[in-house]
Assembly symmetry: C2
Homo-oligomer: 107 residues x 2
């Protein structure tokens, strides 16, 4: 016990929760905002921008990337981080359909 019991929920619910997890840490929100504000494909000034170590930023980037929210080159040197807009917007729609479904029927 201690682990989330994802087996007992519908796929839609698990998808929403998994997506929310990406945004559930301020570092990841900040990283996404920073990347999206860069004119050109600049890379790890992220480490300088946000006050966390390179290892930690790299870990957060991995989480964001695993959710399909990044696009670019990821090998050795000269890496390029960009937002994967299509996937990003898919998540926005997922959230909005959840929000729009949820109404207040009582009180």
């Amino acid at each position: 016990m201690g682990a989330s019991r994802i087996d007992i929920y519908s796929e839609n619910i698990n998808n929403i929760a998994a997506a929310a997890k990406v945004f559930a840490h301020p570092a990841r929100v900040a990283i996404l905002q920073y990347i999206s504000n860069q004119k050109s494909c600049i890379c790890n000034d992220i480490v300088d921008e946000i006050g966390l170590s390179q290892a930690t930023i790299s870990q957060h980037l991995k989480v964001i990337n695993s959710a399909g929210l990044l696009k670019g080159t990821f090998e050795g040197k000269s890496v390029c981080y960009c937002i994967h807009l299509e996937h990003f917007q898919e998540l926005q729609e997922l959230f909005n359909s959840f929000f729009n479904q949820t109404k207040s029927n009582c009180c």
Copy 2:
């Protein structure tokens, strides 16, 4: 180490992360959906609906309530859970403004 360093981020970023945390667990998403689907102000069939113990559901409800997403009576017996629609929609707007701000400028 181990704890999130919320002190180094802007308030807006922390707000988004805090809101996302509420939805970052499938049980809470399921609870919100269930409450919103009830015609009348029904209470803890939630425990029967979702396969978790009463103590666990109660904990999740506390998290949801702390985020300001519930409305109703919360004393002793005959409790009434409802979605606090205004706050709920505020969160929707918070997410949407974040999503809309985030663009892909490169690659």
